[in-house]
Each structure stands twice: as C-alpha cells, then as structure tokens.
C-alpha cells in the first residue's frame, strides 16, 4: 500500500479520539500531516509535480493550525476537535483521490463538518446555512462537471484522464470557485461571513486550506484539459474582478476575520487570474512559468493566511474595536512577517509570489493580440489591488498589535506558533530556488551572485526579470543592522521628549474604521457608501451582496421552516441531518 495512505488512517483515528482527548486528537492530525508531507517529499504520494505541492502546502498549514488549536480550542466544547479532524481528513481524501468519485466524497467530508463548526460557534445558525448553501452549489457543479468528463471518455471509468473539451474544466472550475468565494455571479460575500463566524482555528483551516482545495481542483482538471482562449479569458476576467473587489472590501472591513476572508478571496482571485492566463496560453516557456507562479503563490497564501488567522485568534476577538492584544514580542514579530507576506513584500515568500505573478502578466503583455492587452489590464488591476491589500495588512498589524491594550488572554505558545509561521515564510522565500523548476534558476556570477541563487522570469530563452532571495535577505539584514547601529538610542544622542497633543491629555486613538474611510469616501460609487441622518454615520453596502442576500434569505426561510417542523432546531437533530445528507451524497456519487 502507498505509505501516504497511513496519513489518512492516522487522521481518521483522530476523529473519534477528539471527542474525549482534544490534544491527542490534534497531535494525531499533526502526525498525519507530517507523514503526508514527508512521503510527498520522498515522492511516494499519488501526485507528481506540480500537484504534489498542494499536499506539501496543506500539510504545513495543518501542522501550524493544529499546534495553535491545542491551546486555542479549549472552551469551544467537545465537538470542535473531531469536526476539525474530519475536515482535514476530507481534504486528505481530495488530495489523494485519483478519480472523480473519491474527489467528490472527499469534498463532502471536508464541507459537512465545516457547517457544524460554524453553527456550533454562534447562536445564530444563519452563517452555517449560508456556508451550506454555497457548499452544496459547489458540489452540484462538481458532480455535473464530473459527469461530463466521464461521458467524454465514453466509458464508465471515473479516473482522472486527459480531456478533449474544456466543458468539464468550466463546470468544475465554477464549482471550485464557489468554494473559493470568487466573484462571478456576484457571490463575493458568503465566504467572509462564514469564515468570520467560525472559531479562528477553523477560519484558518477554511481560508488557508479549504480554498486551496478549490485551487487544487481547478489545477487538477486544468492539467488534463486542452488550452482554451475563451475559458482562459473568462477565468482571467473573473479573477481580476475578484481581486479588485475583494481587496476593496477587505480594506473597509471592520471584522478581522472577515478581513481575512476577503483577503483570501483576493488571493484566490490572483491565482485564478494566473490559471486563466495559463489556460489561455499555448504551449511555451510562459505556460511552464505560470505553473511555478500558481504553486508559489498558493504556497505563500496558505501559509501566511494560516498565520493571519492564528494571529487574529490570539486576540480572542472579532472586531478591531474590541481588540485587547497581548504584548509579546514574538507575537508582534510573527504578525509583522505574516502581514508582510500577505502584503506581497520581501523578504517573504508572499513577496516572491506577488513579484512572480506580476511578472507573468507583464510578460503576457508581450504576447500578440487579445492576450497581450488582457495581460496588461489584468496586471495593472492586480498591482492596484496589491496596494490596497498592503493597506489592509497595515490595518491588521497596527490595530491588532500597535494600538492593542496589553491584557489579552492568549497563551505564550501561540506567539511562538505565529513567529514560526513568519520564519517559515522567510525560509520558504530563501529556499524558493529549490521549489521552482531548474529552468528558471540561474545566477549572475559577474556580480558575485552564484549560479542557483537567482530566480528568473522568462517567456522565451532570454530572461525577463531576476530576483535573488538569499541576497535580498542578506541586504535587508545588512541595512537593518546598519541603521540599528547608527541610531541605537542607548548611545544617548537622541533627545526623548513627551508627546504633544495641543497641550491636553491623550485620550483618543485613531480607529480602524477611520483608517479606511478615505477609500469609503473616494470610491463612494463602487462601495455605495451611505452617509445617513445628517452626516451621522457612514456605512458601506456591498453591491454584490444585494443580489445574493435575497437568495440566501429565501433559503434561510426554507431552512428555518424545515428546522421548526423536523428538527426542532436542536443540535442533535442537526447532526442527524448532516449525517443523512452525507450518506445521500455518497450514494448519489456512487450511482453516478
């Protein structure tokens, strides 16, 4: 038997164990993930390059989240842990699946406990219902996509194999995109709502790895599909639109977890845009390069997003206004690195990912015809959104850390987990040379950058851009040290005087809401900023959410009636409903 399957086994055991022994269960998940990572690295998994990366990325995230959960999840009841393990198990099934049926089964195993975790966390089940609706929509598309894919082969062989049309990719992409919270059909807001209402460790799990499964699903089928300029454009357009709006909404969000959710959508949008360019392009160097871009970006996003939600979790709060962050230098440093990465700044893997992504669009501009034009537009939109994303991350960092009042209730170990996440982000950056295909690795010996130390972007034989992670890190450290040595305040050259606020006491701090109001007012048209009751209050309305809300409330009405009649809204009944739904989907999947 493939040794990677042991990881599935271990994680399966973690589920029942979690009901009684919380920490043991998380330890088992860690062991399972470690197992998976190691054997994937050794090359014995089901996946080869580039898909094997997904197993690696997910494992890193699971390990970090599990360590964090050991302390964080205390106080969330006994159900959270087994549900967590089950979600991870579902994702492992997805990653190791070699046919559509297993893939969809994994998809459901992953999703169903997620509704429950959200529902258990809140008195109101609305968020869980919202999550459920969109998950089921996604499953429906996956199932239909799978049917078309299998039909194409003309047999009843459910295994993944090469496709001749782009229809299955379109359907499955829509299914996965729904899970990723992508914008088309105006569904941009369910993900932040769902992720924002889950416990932070689950938010991390959903944002960092569940959406990764969406990317994985698309990538899986993308590699089997022929290139298609129209489908490519469709994905590119949707991706870019998503990036822009998600960045905007993240910036104006007052709920930290929602901000994280929007940031996830924004990153997924970037990946989708890259996938779109990949699908649109014919064979060539740029296409190969794009594979690397997708992997590095997904890696950066998943690890950093794990860190972001862990960081948010340490505040034990949801809104910026109520943050009482613990003062802990490890924590602050970790926060700093994680937000740097999500802002797309060096020296982190996020910086590298952003650079590579933008490079690919700028190189796309050299392509003839529509692709060239689309690339320029997409590239500049993404660059714009990256700017906004940096501002959002600044907001997270300053309003959760700098302005926090030091009386948080987190455990010190959580600070270490966040710091490790940050360090991993730097390490991944420095080691990126080993993660990228050798054809994009070179050096500049003439300026003492030895072979193997630079990463090239190129769309033909000649290189387009260059970056050398190790050297970047060394230079940054050098200048930081130099500045520190020159301006070290202990040398007594600085005069330190009290703050000045017009001569009166300091009693007000800038608020996170105020921080984002410039964009609220500037983009009044897009954000539909309302100023109510004689300048009294400002609020932002999401244009897309209007449409979806009516849909969701319709479903909620149905669900509520269903709950009143059948389930008496008790959790036990809800569990039973879940299990039945799960069974049904399994049976359906097998019948198909």
């Amino acid at each position: 038997m493939n040794p990677v399957y042991f990881s599935l086994l271990i994680t399966a055991v973690a589920m029942p164990v979690g009901i009684w022994w919380r920490k043991a269960s998380y330890a088992l998940v860690i062991a399972g993930s470690l197992e998976m990572a190691v054997f994937t690295l050794l090359g014995s998994g089901n996946l080869a390059y580039p898909l094997a990366y997904f197993s690696l990325i997910a494992s890193i995230a699971w390990i970090l989240i599990s360590i964090f959960s050991m302390t964080y999840s205390a106080g969330y009841g006994k159900w959270l842990t087994p549900l967590f393990a089950m979600t991870v198990f579902g994702m492992m099934v997805i990653l190791e699946s070699s046919d559509y049926v297993t893939f969809i089964i994994g998809w459901e195993i992953m999703s169903i406990p997620a509704y429950a975790s959200i529902g258990l966390n809140k008195e109101h089940w609305n968020a869980a219902y919202v999550f459920m609706v969109f998950s089921e929509i996604s499953t429906v598309f996956l199932v239909i996509g799978a049917i078309f894919a299998v039909q194409e082969t003309g047999t009843m062989d459910f295994r993944f194999q090469s496709l001749t049309s782009d229809l299955p990719l379109l359907l499955i992409a829509i299914g996965c995109m729904t899970k990723m919270g992508i914008t088309p059909f105006m569904i941009s807001e369910w993900l932040p709502i769902a992720h924002g209402n889950a416990p932070a460790n689950d938010s991390a799990l959903f944002s960092a790895t569940m959406t990764l499964m969406g990317v994985f699903g698309i990538a899986r089928i993308m590699l089997l599909s022929p290139s298609s300029i129209y489908l490519g454009f469709f994905m590119l357009a949707v991706g870019v639109l998503t990036v822009f709006f998600a960045a905007l909404f993240a910036y104006v969000s007052e709920n930290m977890k929602m901000l994280g959710g929007f940031s996830t959508i924004e990153n997924n949008g970037s990946i989708l845009a890259a996938i779109g360019l990949y699908v649109a392009l014919g064979e060539g160097v740029l296409k190969t390069y794009l594979l690397a871009v997708i992997m590095i970006f997904a890696l950066a996003h998943s690890v950093a997003k794990t860190g972001l939600f862990i960081g948010i979790g340490t505040t034990r709060k949801e809104n910026f206004s109520e943050v009482d962050s613990s003062k802990n230098s490890f924590l602050t440093l970790g926060w700093f690195l994680v937000t740097m990465s999500l802002s797309g700044l060096l020296p982190t893997i996020g910086g590298l990912g952003t650079w590579m992504l933008l490079e690919s669009f700028f190189m796309g501009a050299y392509q003839y015809g529509l692709i060239g034009i689309a690339s320029v537009v997409a590239g500049s939109m993404i660059a714009l959104a990256e700017g906004l994303a940096s501002a959002s991350m600044m907001k997270v960092l300053s309003f959760s850390q700098v302005h926090g009042h030091p009386k948080g209730s987190m455990k010190n170990s959580e600070g270490y987990v966040l710091l490790s996440t940050g360090v991993i982000l730097i390490l991944l950056f420095v080691l990126a040379n080993f993660l990228i295909q050798p054809q994009f690795i070179s050096g500049l010996p003439s300026v003492l950058v030895y072979n193997g130390f630079t990463i090239q972007s190129k769309f033909s034989a000649a290189d387009f851009g260059l970056i050398s992670p190790l050297y970047v890190l060394v230079i940054i450290i050098f200048f930081a040290l130099a500045a520190y040595l020159v301006f070290d305040r202990r040398k007594g050259k600085l005069r330190i005087v009290p703050r000045w606020n017009g001569g009166v006491d300091f009693d007000q701090y800038y608020t996170s809401f105020a921080y984002a109001s410039n964009i609220r007012l500037m983009l009044k048209g897009i954000l539909r900023t309302r100023i109510r009751d004689g300048n009294r209050q400002m609020s932002v309305v999401d244009v897309f959410w209007f449409a979806m809300q009516s849909f969701a409330s319709g479903y909620r009405r149905f669900a509520r009636q269903f709950a009143y009649r059948v389930m008496n809204s008790s959790i036990t009944w809800y569990m039973i409903y879940m299990i039945v739904a799960f069974m049904l989907v399994l049976i359906l999947a097998f019948v198909i």
Binding site: T511, F513, S517, R536
Partner: protein, 390 residues
Amino acid sequence: MQYYKTARGNGRYIGQTRSYTIYSDSIDSPVKVEKKPADIIPGELVFNYGPSTGGMIESVRIALSTPGEMIRSVAVDPTYKLRTIKLSGLSLKDAFILVERINGYHSSSYQAAFLKAVEDALLTEQNTGLDEELILQMELERIRSHLNVLERLCEPAGFGVPYHQIAQMREEVTRVISSIFGHRYFFGVHNTPKPSVRIPSGIVTRTKDIETRFALLFESLQDSKIFVNRLQGNGKIEKVWLVGPAARAAGYKYDARIDSPSLDYGRYGFEPYIEDGKDAFARFLVRGNEIFSSFAIVNQIISNGRPDQANLMNIHGTGIGAARVESPQGDLFCYLSINNGSVERIEFCSPSVSNIIAFEQSMQGNIFTDFHFNWESFGIWISEAGVEIE
C-alpha cells in the same frame, strides 16, 4: 438710548449679550441657548486640535468628531484663554484702556462701539468729526484684518509668494496706521489731548499704491485653480443669523455700515459687496472686494485732511447708551450704562461668537483637508469670544 429701542425682535438677529438678545433695531430679553455636549458614536474618534498648536494664531481647542476623513461635527472651545476683564466701576477713561484690549487686532471697532455708546448715553447730537475719525480707523483696520484673513488662507495652500506679498501689504497698512495714529494698533488714540491724529503728507499715494498692488494680487489668486479649488464648496453656510462677511457671502445684505445709525457712512457712497456662493470662496471674494471699498472711504477721508475729533473721555453724566458698528468680522454691539461718569454695566456682543457657531455648522460633512481653509475664512478672533466682561 437714542438709537436703540427695547422691543420684541425688530430687525435681523445679531446675537446675545449677557442679559439681552440683540436685533438690528431693538434689544430684547435674552433667550437661553443651550449647547448640547457632543455625542460620540462608536467607531468614531474625536480628533483634538489645540488649544496650543502652531497652526492657530490664538489658543483655541477644536474637537473634530470623525468617522475618518470626513468631519461629522466640530466643537470649538474658546475658553482656554478666557480672560476676565472687569470694567464696571471704572471711569470711562480707565475702562477705555481695557476696552481697546478686548480684541487688540480690532481695537478700533471696540473703541468705536464704546465711544458711540458713550455718546448715545450722554450727548444729544453726533459729533461728525469723531465719526469721521472712527470711520477712518475702522476702515484701515478692516483692510488690515481682511488682508490678514487672505494671508492666512494662502498659508495652508502652501502659496508662499502671495502669502508673503500680502504680509508685506499688511505691514505697510500697519505702518500707515502707525503714521496716522501713532500706534500700530490704535491704542491710546483717544486718551491724548488733541490732536493725536496726524495725516502725513504723501499718505494718499501710499494707500493708492497698496491698493493697486493688491488688485493685481487679488486677481491672480482668483485665476489660480489650485487656490480656488481649495475654497470652493468648502464650508457652505446660509443662515439668517449670520453676520459680517459670512452673511454677505451668503447673499444677505447685512452690514452695520448701512443698517446701524451709530456711524454715518452715507456721505462716502458706500454699498456692501454681496456674493451668494455661501462658501469659503465667497467669503474670500467678499473680503477682497471690501478691501477696495474700504480703501475708497479711507482715501476720501485722508485727502480731506485731519478730521476734527472730540475727546469724550472726560465727560461726566449718567445715562444708558447702545451702539452697533461693523467690525471687520461682523456686527459688534455695545450696551453701556454710565453712572456719574463711570461704567455701571457694560455688555458686548462680538461677531466671533456668531462666526464660531457658523464655522461649526459649516464644517459638518467636509473633509479634513478643508478644515484650515474654512477656519481661516471666517476670521475668528478668540480674544473676543473667550472673554468675560464684568
């Protein structure tokens, strides 16, 4: 009281003194104006400005409540530098020294309001020589005060050249004042045995030269898009209770120079300049154009030679008087009761109090960068708003 009647709200509303409500034609019993404390909405912050900050000429604390970027409400607190000036019981002569220093930058207006109230209380007819001298003082003061406001408007716009050019004109006007009245701020003009006013030769050429240079500069400022954009649409306000340039910029023909009997401007052919933009730009235009009309009056008076003035400081008597004059920033009202040559009760209603309220209201809904321009456009003086006169 010869000019003022005690009646129920005749004429336009001017403001409040400690014990009266003042209208343009009458004095009424006071109305209680309650100031609500500013409410704070969650997520909002109160941005503190002052009381001591380099951006303001005087000490004043301004609290800007904002949900970010946009200003929801503003509260101006002029009481940090609250001075208590005790006038009751003093002889007219001694009281006069203090009255000059209520608002040193507009001391002429205070002198005029006080002297006209004395005249109203104790004399039966107006002294045209005194009127002419007071009008000369006040119009020169107005020119300087308006120049000061325009100068302050150039500062936050970062307009170094016009800022300094106006500063230069302002200093020149101050020197003209100093050469005519002996003191750069008119202090002590009426304390001296006559004559304290001297019209030096060549002074008309000098004022005409300043006027010509100002005309050029004023035109250039109006041509500057960057400058105009900062002011247009900023701090709009249109209220019937507005006074001074703020009222005239909102289309109201309110001006004590035409609707108060205290000083007779009739013979100078004066007509108020009206704008209806209601914003900081309109206030800028009103002030700029008033500089020309003031120069016209000044030039008429100084080319006639030295006005014949009377010294009111040493008269004795008992009576009640009231006067209202147009200070550079709006109506200035003085109520005075004199008992045997000394002040029994004195009350002022100064334009800055009204302008502060107008500023607070006009600021709502504007953004932060508008703040300085709007503040300067009202020409508020804290010394006359944050003062207790006893």
